[in-house]
Symmetry: C2
Subunit: 157 residues, 2 copies
């Protein structure tokens, strides 16, 4: 677990000694909200693209391919760690976004679902790398469920 | 080096036994060009966002922060492996893009500059993780140079 060092000069001192909601270090203090919003959307879109590659194999629309599956799953895992720094204070608005206000009202739950997602993507990356198709197809479904769970609570329709 | 397994059913057979241009497995066969274009743009934007966090520290606009620097540099390294599957055949058009046709005319050079970028981001991730500020600031400049080199040849103004 990295030491979280805070959001903003004042918060930095408090956060340095307290356990913050987000498991990852906060974004730099002077990031404009619109950039943060577009960043997190970029990461989530990239994750979706790689999930689609895997889904096509799961559905039998494309032939199974161990290297492509392993790579896509690895990218999904890596990407799943990246959006969270884009959800800092003040990023509920500034650009079109489906992020619901609940994200900032219930940060504990938001963090919990982030952790669920990252745990699921880690399993998928491992099983896709191993080449166990039945296993990674199951792990793929678990990741898709984790995405849905978070969206159900925190993304507007 | 992963075995590259091809783009499209016909290419798959050829590619399985040949050394393809791209060091990473190709994208799934049925990806629409507009989605591939938006995917690669999403990845490059996410890379840019994390580079900005590092640049702000290099310029002294934000205080040095080892955890944030290490995380951003790691993300830049991971992201630097991801865009390439979005540059497959037929993705020169389909959505607004600054990707120049030279990408598909000179794939050897494009691949070479990709490799330069990935080597540079790996060094940056390692030095940022170590906390050697002088070292990672130099490595940051090398990554910025690698971005510019590729853009000079392959991105329209």
């Amino acid at each position: 677990m990295r030491v979280v060092t805070g959001i903003g000069a004042v918060a930095a001192t408090v956060a340095a000694t307290a356990c913050l909601t987000f498991a990852h270090p906060a974004v730099a203090q002077d990031v404009k909200p619109d950039r943060a919003i577009k960043y997190r959307q970029s990461v989530l879109r990239a994750m979706d693209y790689n999930m689609d590659i895997l889904e096509a194999m799961v559905k039998g629309e494309t032939p199974p391919n161990k290297e492509v599956a392993a790579q896509s799953a690895l990218f999904v895992e890596q990407l799943s760690h990246m959006p969270w720094s884009g959800f800092g204070p003040g990023t509920d608005q500034g650009a079109p976004t489906k992020a619901r206000p609940e994200i900032w009202k219930d940060p504990e739950k938001f963090k919990s679902l982030q952790n669920d997602l990252m745990a699921a993507t880690a399993k998928l990356a491992a099983s896709a790398k191993s080449g166990d198709v039945a296993q990674w197809k199951g792990d793929f479904s678990a990741v898709a469920d984790a995405c849905r769970n978070c969206h159900r609570s925190f993304r507007a329709r």
